[in-house]
């Protein structure tokens, strides 16, 4: 395969080459790992790389293709032999899973998350675990307990978060595709800021078994990919009922690729005016308006609508999510796994372990959640937020009575510089304006690249009713085919510049940080 850089290809392009026996899964893996070596000094997307396990999986896939009988049938094993990165909050048996936290710096899970076992069963090759905001709490990956990840489009800019490592590495071709998790926008926002496709599925569509819990009524795992087709393929592999997750929905999973290559004539598109007003950067708004015009040109019927309780969504989310997190993170006590500090008593041991192991944002949210749930405040804060959540959910129900999908910017701004928002939690939270209501309502939503502002990518968010992921694929794919944003590549991918200085917000904590493993070159 002279001239073709395998690491630049999408999963479906690689699949076509594998089926024609043009390349082998081992060549694909070598190409990706070779590129990771060039990228990582400046990008820092991975906490752990697993070249040996990956090599073994790729070797098996190579043999299967070589003797033909073991190769997947057309339409089956969509990711057979394809390298994938996993956000470091999903358990991988035998591979360290830190959740971006020093409290789990040495945790090696004894089992696979359901999404991971489904990927392995499909034949995907897991290449590493990506950096993230600690316990997925953050919008910039600066809350990682280990180091910052950078945006491949601009030196010193954040990749978004919390799935910043997954989005940055897919954008820079350091993985063919990746998994992220999304509690308030953590798949869609980094996908938007890095110029890739990110999907938060309907709550309950993808099993959360083996995902380190943050806010259990909001968390969902979702794909981060180079294009819409790959997103459909990856969702098809990970979606579906799982008896190990009691919030997993007993629904039949359709073939999502059947929703691609369709036209969108007559599709009713609503633009919630609350997502296009104050708080949205005017340049971002202009780019999104241009994207809406493209869809109109393709035959979509566009009209404005209103989600009147949007203004209450941030306050609602930042009560519910911290309340759930304060309860979920009680399990990190220094007894069964992770960091352990000696103490005079059990309480002393737990408090010292948690004090040492948790970073500032995690402590802030545990404090906020504990406060909101504590006696005397419960009704005023938590119970009130649960009712506000009902009103936000009903806004969407009403809108979907008139529209097939809703459109908005994914993030109110393009990528910002590291350190810019770390001292102002409310400013950081405000960046989740357009994504948070979707989690509160449990809806599926996708971010697709729709242009640039100041040289940085802008994402278009498409929202659909529960379990109508198919509509997202139809609209996003129609838009993707009508535009050509993927022809623009991030600077870091084209030529590796010098490593950015670590900004003040993200300090390398040598000593207890996991070793940043890079594979030996295999030529």
């Amino acid at each position: 395969m002279n001239g073709v850089k395998l690491y630049e290809l999408t999963a479906h392009e690689i699949r076509a080459l594998l089926e024609q026996r043009e390349v082998s899964p081992v060549e694909v893996l070598d190409s990706v790992f070779g590129h990771i070596q060039d990228l990582e000094p400046a990008l820092r997307a991975y906490i752990t790389l697993c070249p040996d396990d990956a090599r073994e999986a790729a070797e098996q896939a190579r043999k299967a293709y070589a003797d033909r009988s073991g190769a997947p049938q057309p339409g089956k094993g969509a990711l057979f032999g394809i390298p994938i990165a996993i956000k470091d909050n999903m358990c991988t048996e035998g591979i360290r899973t830190t959740c971006g936290s020093r409290i789990l710096y040495n945790f090696v899970p004894p089992y696979d998350a359901t999404v991971v076992s489904r990927l392995k069963k499909d034949g995907a090759v897991i290449i590493g675990k990506t950096n993230m905001d600690e316990f997925a709490m953050g919008s910039s990956t600066e809350n990682s307990g280990f180091f910052n990840t950078y945006n491949p489009w601009k030196k010193g800019a954040v990749p978004g978060g919390s799935s910043g490592g997954s989005a940055a590495t897919v954008a820079a071709n350091g993985a063919v595709l990746a998994l992220g998790s999304d509690t308030g926008g953590s798949v869609r926002q980094p996908a938007s800021l890095c110029g890739v496709v990110g999907l938060k599925p309907t709550y309950g569509l993808v099993s959360r078994y083996g995902l380190v819990a943050f806010a259990s009524s909001l968390d969902q795992i979702g794909p981060i990919t180079k294009d819409v087709t790959d997103c459909a393929l990856l969702l098809g592999v990970i979606a579906g009922h799982d008896p190990f997750d009691s919030t997993s929905a007993p629904v039949k999973v359709p073939d999502y690729t059947a929703y691609l290559d369709k036209d969108i004539k007559g599709v009713k598109v609503g633009i919630p005016k609350e997502y296009m007003g104050e708080g949205i950067d005017p340049d971002v708004r202009r780019v999104v308006e241009a994207a809406i015009s493209v869809l109109r040109g393709l035959g979509a019927v566009v009209d404005e609508c209103s989600l009147p309780h949007t203004d209450y969504a941030l306050a609602t989310y930042y009560l519910i999510a911290p309340a759930e997190c304060s309860s979920n993170l009680a399990r990190f006590d220094g007894v069964r796994y992770g960091l352990h500090k000696e103490g005079q008593s059990l309480e002393d041991m737990m408090s010292r372990t948690r004090q040492e192991g948790f970073g500032e944002e995690v402590k802030r949210r545990i404090m906020l959640g504990t406060y909101a749930l504590s006696a005397g405040y419960y009704d005023a804060y938590y119970a009130k937020a649960q009712k506000a959540r009902t009103l936000i959910r009903k806004d969407f129900e009403e809108a979907f009575g008139r529209f097939d999908v809703l459109l908005s910017p994914t993030s109110p701004t393009v990528a910002f510089m590291a350190g810019e928002r770390v001292d102002n939690p409310l400013q950081m939270y405000a960046g989740d304006l357009c994504t948070i209501p979707v989690n509160l309502a449990g809806l599926p939503a996708m971010s697709v690249p729709c242009g640039f502002s100041k040289g940085l990518p802008v994402g278009l968010q498409i929202i659909a009713p529960h379990f109508e992921e198919g509509r997202l694929f139809t609209v996003a794919h129609a838009y993707e085919r009508a535009t050509a944003w993927r022809q623009f590549r991030p600077a870091l991918d084209a030529q590796a510049p010098a490593a950015p200085e670590d900004a003040s917000g993200g300090v390398d904590r040598a000593g207890e940080a996991p070793e940043h493993v890079l594979p030996a070159p295999e030529m």
Binding site: N106, F107, V108, P110, Y111, T202, Y203, G204, S217, L218, S246, T247, A249, H309, L314, A315, T316, L319, A330, V335, R336, Y337, G338, L339, H340, Q344, S345, L346, E347, M349, M350, S351, R352, R354, Q355, F358, K363, R364, I366, M367, L368, T370, Y371, S374, A380, Y381, A383, K384, A385, K387, A388, R389, T390, L391, R393, L426, L440, G442, L443, H466
Partner: protein
């Protein structure tokens, strides 16, 4: 002030966090700002509105047969324990010896 230093210390104790002095000062200020922002919810009329605990309204409690399935072997379950003794996780003494 919606929250003061004493309250922050009380919450930290409830959450098993041994905050450093500078964190107590910073969190007091930041939590106060955040809680002030949350006040906007007070202005929202929620009379007669049912709470949403879960986004999928038609998903009820899930039960299964009380039958032992595949279980984690003891060695695997204990593999990450910072301190163990025989087949147990070891913690500091909780019950004092009688004098």
């Amino acid at each position: 002030m919606r929250i003061d230093r004493e309250e922050v210390l009380r919450i930290a104790r409830l959450a098993h966090l041994e905050l450093a002095p500078d964190e107590v000062a910073r969190f007091t200020e930041q939590l106060d700002t955040i809680l002030n922002y949350m006040e906007k919810l007070r202005g929202l009329d929620t009379q007669g509105v049912e709470p949403t605990y879960h986004a999928l309204q038609d998903l009820a409690n899930v039960f299964r047969q009380d039958k032992v399935g595949e279980v984690l072997p003891i060695e695997k379950a204990l593999a990450n324990s910072p301190e163990r003794e025989a087949n147990f996780f070891k913690v500091p003494r909780i019950v004092e010896e009688r004098g």
